[in-house]
Symmetry: C2
Subunit: 304 residues, 2 copies
C-alpha cells in the first residue's frame, strides 16, 4: 500500500520505518526538512509540502491514504486545512496522535475524507515490538487500512476498531488515565519499601515480582530498569513530574459521566502537587495549628 | 533434595507437584488424609503426622528441609509447635504462606531451626508457569534451599533473598498493597468505558491494550479473560469484594512509616465499601441536605 506520513518526529519516523519494513511505499513530509531527509534515508519518498504529498499519492486509484503524526491540537487542524482542498470521499486520513476525542469527532464531521482517530500506545520504546492502536471511525476505512495497522501495531492483535469516530481516542484517553494510576500505585509501593524497615535492593524486588507475581507488567519492567540504571534510591532523579493532559481529560469525562475515579484523580493530583513550589494548603495548616494550639509557625528561613 | 511439605491445600499441592517434576523427593502431610493421599498419588511419600514427616526426613545428613503451606496465623504457630521438638540448627523451615512479617520475625527468633519467610505470588493460576518467591532469613539457608526455590518459582529469576527475617513477607505485603491499587485502577478505567459514551467490546479493548500498550500486564490479561467469559457487562458477577488483610497491613505499615499511600488506601477503602449494606455517611448526607436545603429525604421503601 502507498501511505503518506505527515509529521516525522520520533513517533512519525517509527511509523515510517515500520511501514517500509512491511513492504509499504511511504511518502513522507515534515515541516523540518531535516526530518523529511531522515525519512528519505530510511527509504521513504520525500515530499516538499502537504500538497506535494497529495500529488505524489494521486497515482493510487483507490484514493489517498494519509497518516498524521503531528502534535495534538492546532497542528492537527492546520495540517487538515492544508489537506482539505486535496481530499475527497475515497481518501482516508488517520490521526495517530494524542488528540482529545471531541476534536476527532469534530474533524471527522468536517472533512470530505473518511477520518480515523487512532490512539497509539507504547511510545518510542516500542519501535521494535510495535504499538497498540485503538481506532475509531468508518468500518470500511478501518478495513482498508488494516495492512498498515498490522505493520505499525504489534501485529493483527495489536489493533482494533473500537467504534465510530472518537472511540479510538476515547479509549486511548482512558488508557492514559489508568496509566497514571498504575504508575502511582507502583510508586507508592516502592516508596514504602524504600522508606520502610528493610534495606532492600529494589531492582531485585522488581525483577522477582516480574517473574510470576500477580503485579507483573511492562511498567514494572521499566521500574526494574530504572533501579538498575539509577540505583535503589533513584540517584538524582527529580521529583517534579511533567504531563497531565490526558489524565485531566479522563477525570473531566468521568465527572461528566458521574463515574467515580478516585485513584485516577489521586494520581493526577499527585502529579500537580509535584509541580508546586510550596502548597498554600500546607502553609494554611501551619498557621491554623498556631491558631488553635499555639504551635510555633514554621516559616521559610528567607522570610518568604 | 528431600523436602517435607506440610499443608496440602491448592497451593501446597502445586508446591509438591513442582518439586516432584524437578526431581526432588517429597514427604507430604496434611491434616486431611484425603489431601495427603492426593500428594501420594502425585508421587510424594505420605506421612501420618508432623512427627512422621520429621522421622522420614531424618535420613538426610545435612538436616531437614521443611516447607509449610498452611493458612497464615494460628495454623503456622500450631505446626511449628508440633515441629519444634524435632528441629535443630541444621534444619531449615520455610513458611511459604501469607504470614504477616511481624509474626515471621518472632517465629524466626523462637525456633532452633533456620527460618525462611517466603512470600509466594501468582496463585493457583501459576501452577504451570511457577511463582514469584520473596524470601527473608539467613543467607546460608536461602542458598541451601535454592534448588527447591528454582523448582517452585518461575526459575532462578523468580526468587531472591530480600534480606533478613521478615523481609520476604514484608515485600509480599507491599506487593499485595500495590495489587489492590492496580486492580482498582483497571476497574476505574473499565467502569468509565462501560458507563461512558461509546458502546465498547471490553474484551477487544483489553486485548488491544495488552498488545503493545503501556498498561499491558498479567492483571490486564485476566481482565480480557473476564470480559471474554462474562461479557462486557460482567453478567451476574457480584459487586461485593472479599479479602483485605494484606492491604490493611500495608496501610498500617505506611502509617507507621509516615509514607503516604493514598491509592493503596483508596483501593482498600473501596473494598470495605463494597461490603457495606448502606453507608452511614451517605444516609447522614441525605439527612443533612434536608437540614440546610429542605431537600426531600430519600428513605428506604421498607422503612428501615
Amino acid at each position: 500500500m502507498q501511505l503518506g506520513v505527515i509529521g516525522l518526529g520520533r513517533m512519525g519516523q517509527i511509523v515510517v520505518d515500520r511501514c517500509l519494513n512491511a513492504g509499504h511505499d511511504v511518502v513522507a513530509f515534515d515541516l523540518s526538512a531535516e526530518a523529511t531527509a531522515t525519512a528519505a534515508t530510511a527509504g521513504a519518498t520525500p515530499a516538499e509540502s502537504v500538497e506535494d504529498v497529495c500529488d505524489r499519492l494521486d497515482g493510487s486509484e483507490a484514493g489517498k491514504r494519509l497518516w498524521l503524526m503531528v502534535p495534538a491540537g492546532d497542528p492537527v487542524d492546520a495540517t487538515l486545512a492544508d489537506l482539505e482542498p486535496h481530499l475527497d470521499a475515497d481518501d482516508v486520513v488517520v490521526d495517530g496522535g494524542n488528540s482529545r476525542f471531541h476534536g476527532s469527532v469534530r474533524r471527522a464531521e468536517a472533512t470530505d475524507a473518511a477520518y480515523l482517530d487512532c490512539g497509539t500506545s507504547g511510545g518510542p520504546a516500542s519501535a521494535e515490538a510495535g504499538f497498540s492502536l485503538m481506532i475509531g471511525g468508518p468500518e470500511w476505512a478501518y478495513e482498508e487500512l488494516t495492512p498498515v495497522f498490522d505493520a505499525i501495531a504489534t501485529g493483527p492483535d495489536g489493533h482494533d476498531r473500537m467504534g465510530p469516530s472518537g472511540a479510538g481516542h476515547y479509549v486511548k484517553m482512558v488508557h492514559n488515565g489508568v496509566e497514571y494510576a498504575l504508575m502511582q500505585a507502583y510508586g507508592e509501593g516502592f516508596e514504602l519499601l524504600a522508606e520502610g524497615r528493610y534495606d532492600l535492593d529494589l531492582e531485585s524486588v522488581a525483577r522477582t515480582w516480574n517473574n510470576g507475581a500477580v503485579i507483573r507488567s511492562w511498567l514494572l519492567e521499566l521500574c526494574a530498569e530504572a533501579f538498575r540504571e539509577e540505583g535503589s534510591d533513584l540517584g538524582d532523579v527529580a521529583d517534579h513530574v511533567a504531563g497531565g493532559s490526558t489524565g485531566t481529560w479522563t477525570v473531566e469525562e468521568a465527572l461528566e459521566q458521574e463515574v467515580p475515579v478516585p485513584l485516577i484523580y489521586g494520581a493526577l493530583a499527585e502529579r500537580f502537587d509535584s509541580r508546586n513550589e510550596g502548597r498554600f494548603s500546607r502553609r494554611l495548616a501551619n498557621r491554623l495549628r498556631y491558631g488553635f494550639g499555639r504551635h510555633e509557625v514554621a516559616r521559610d528561613s528567607d522570610g518568604e
